[in-house]
Symmetry: C2
């Protein structure tokens, strides 16, 4: 018996997230990506469909590796323009009651004193429904525009990230006591000064002597997401994450990942079930298997090969521009290529690919499985994947946005509910409670809990 | 005949904004300051009452001058805790149709590349209803927590601010052409790369080679507010502001300020009517003059002297803790005191004050007039003040929050409407159009317009 699944929508405030060219499909609404109503409508539909969260990716630069220019990505609307996802959360919270909001923010480009206030603010305004996807950022173009000559080296970014987490845990967990914000008119005390303390942080990178600007919010620390694929990234996730995203294309690959995750958790002294594992998946559903297969074929005809290769180049650093898109690629097995392609677990180097096939692969499914069929077929496959892969839920992407997510909510969610496979969030539950089944605060064995000040 | 007035609500996402102790009044709802519903309800009421905007102040530190500690400010909830105002705007936009949103953000602690994205995002999500209050920040406690040993000196902050504005104008006005975001499926062009250009900024403080992350929003540059009182601040406002806030206590003082403003505009080569002048005012209204006077007396009984002096100390740098609160103060005329008290135009050094009186002065009215009476009395006084002072509107604060703003909307706005004194915003108008009467883009004689790239 499969345990109930967690459902997360994987989104981004851009015209094209992971499916270049598909915005040209007649069912696409992506041209409305900068309209508030587009997102409030989607959030409501996801909540009705039993989704636990909507998760916003973010980047701070353009994809400019392909052909040495951003032109292909710009023309294709590939993650450009890029709105700031932190700024839409309060509107989506006002439009919903149970949906959680995962937001990407970079420890490289934010200051912990201010980021702590941002998530503290959103945790208050959402009633505890906010999560943070911790990233260290990977784009040269972002680094340049923020005044750095080049990116901070990968491992140094993770060293800084560790100190960043130390600072924000102190601000969220240790700076203001639970009972400090009393608003007691008779006693003439809004906040008890004895319950507020400066964190006195004086580290290699950050110095933050003072207290948090925001008082204790429902979750204090937002639900922590991470998706690092490198060894440093996985160790970081093992210490800090409460939910991880990854992109296995088969249940066996997923099992390998989740086994590794449990080992990292053990190394960090945390309980094996402390972290929920979400695999990326694209679901193309229709009333029947035949109709779904036809939909996929129709989608494939809308792929934009050049724009897809621009996205691929941005992710991997491999510039494949100017090559014949229908000629078989010769795969050169080199260490650099292995590293660049490591995240593309489906991109089998033993197979012969053309660039057009790479583009199709990137554009429909991205880095995860593409599940196509009737509601029953999709539910079967989700159930099998989750059970065999040892995962807790899916991070669902759209090929055609928002149509595929709406179709999932309309067709697949009822089927999952019928099977008892959809874990419904309780109204009023925090994001942590909805995802982890407990909370609203960090677990005692999470390193952030060490920043708490004992009461007594 | 007085021209119609502009109305702005002056708020802050804190328990106590400018009226220490008044949160203890039975009509106060300020204990709900961290609840989204508190703010969406207020925004709707203000819109119904014909307000053109709600304006959010912000600070990034605590008031810790009084007694050398933040305890008095913390106890009184004086601008602490402090939520991030940028993050509530989208929810308020979803709840309203015409209200504008002015948000304070610091050029000292933000990066222009990211701040440009924030306001670009909000300008999209609000349909062009966002404004920016440009501040350079003044708190030691904020500087320390952001890794600086002390504040950047005042004049250097303004030099940096000038370069900051140069960068954001290039990003908002010059980086992406109006027609560039076409979403033309037939042509397979979401964004025309020829209409997107890096700004190539390489200055003393900032280096931003790349293009804006956000495309052209309804206003591009948000409506620009400024409230600088120093000579540098006034010159900065003369160049950049489209609306200014100040705190004159009499129409004569207001006239002096607005005359100076027009001179600064002329010096900057801008039309005299380019900038709207808002004076702070506190309105205490009831059905009758007698009832309003009784309300004021009741309010005065709720002032918290110690918390008010903590706020006063934070503003002026004068620590008056530990003195007898009922003894007459000896005013020592010194250059430092003059400078510190300059913004308190009402605080007449010729008069004898006790600390309790200073506290009352600070807590009800802050730095502007307190207008008390029936709707007709209040409207008379607003009309007289505006006409004699040469101002365009009022930045209305509450003593008891949000009760005084709600009472204004319920009682004074109908009276102003009856007199033809309330300039109603058209549905769908941008904030710039609502305030300046033209737009939606920056005027041609505004320095930001120089960042535009000629089409052709």
């Amino acid at each position: 018996m499969t345990k109930p699944l967690l459902l997360n929508a994987f989104e981004m405030l851009v015209p094209v997230h992971q499916s270049p060219g598909l915005w040209r499909h007649p069912d696409s609404g992506a041209h409305r990506f900068a309209e508030l109503g587009y997102w409030t409508d989607l959030a409501k539909a996801l909540e009705d469909g039993g989704f636990h969260g909507i998760f916003f990716a973010d980047i701070l630069g353009q994809y400019d590796v392909h052909g040495g220019s951003a032109d292909a990505a710009v023309r294709g609307g590939v993650q450009y323009p890029t709105l700031d996802p932190l700024l839409i959360v309060s509107a989506l919270a006002a439009a919903t009651e149970r949906l959680g909001f995962g937001v990407t923010a970079s420890v490289t480009y934010e200051h912990p004193y201010l980021l702590a206030r941002k998530f503290g603010t959103l945790d208050h305004l959402t009633g505890g429904r906010v999560g943070w996807n911790i990233v260290t950022s990977y784009q040269e173009s972002a680094a340049r525009n923020l005044g750095l000559d080049t990116q901070i080296p990968h491992d140094e970014r993770y060293d800084r990230a560790e100190e960043f987490m130390d600072v924000v845990y102190k601000l969220w967990e240790g700076s203001v006591d639970d009972g400090a914000v009393v608003a007691d008119a008779a006693a003439n005390v809004f906040v008890d000064p004895a319950g507020v303390r400066g964190i006195g942080h004086d580290g290699d990178v950050y110095r933050v002597p003072g207290p948090a600007l925001v008082g204790p919010s429902p979750q204090r620390t937002p639900l922590l997401f991470q998706a690092g694929a490198s060894a440093r990234g996985r160790a970081f996730a093992g210490r800090h994450a409460e939910a991880v995203f990854f992109a296995a294309s088969t249940p066996a690959q997923a099992r390998k990942y989740t086994d590794g995750l449990r080992a990292e958790l053990a190394a960090a002294g945390r309980a094996p079930e402390s972290v929920k594992a979400f695999n990326i998946a694209t679901v193309i559903v229709a009333e029947t298997d035949e109709a779904a297969a036809a939909k996929l074929a129709d989608y494939e005809a809308h792929v934009d090969t050049d724009a897809a290769l621009a996205l691929f180049a941005g992710w991997t650093g491999l510039d494949l521009s100017g090559l014949d898109q229908d000629a078989p690629l010769t795969y050169i097995r080199s260490e650099a290529n292995q590293s660049a392609l490591a995240q593309f677990t489906l991109l089998d180097p033993e197979r012969t690919w053309t660039l057009r096939e790479v583009a199709k692969f990137v554009s429909i499914g991205g880095r995860g499985p593409v599940i196509v069929g009737s509601p029953a077929t999709v539910a079967d496959e989700l159930e099998r994947f989750a059970e065999d892969g040892g995962i807790d839920g899916f991070n669902l992407t759209s090929a055609v946005r928002p149509a595929d997510l709406l179709a999932f909510a309309r067709l697949v969610s009822p089927e999952l509910r019928r099977r008892g496979l959809l874990a419904e969030s309780a109204p009023g539950a925090t994001f942590r409670e909805a995802v982890l089944g407990k909370g609203p605060r960090l677990a005692a064995d999470h390193p952030g809990a060490a920043a708490r000040v004992p009461v007594g």
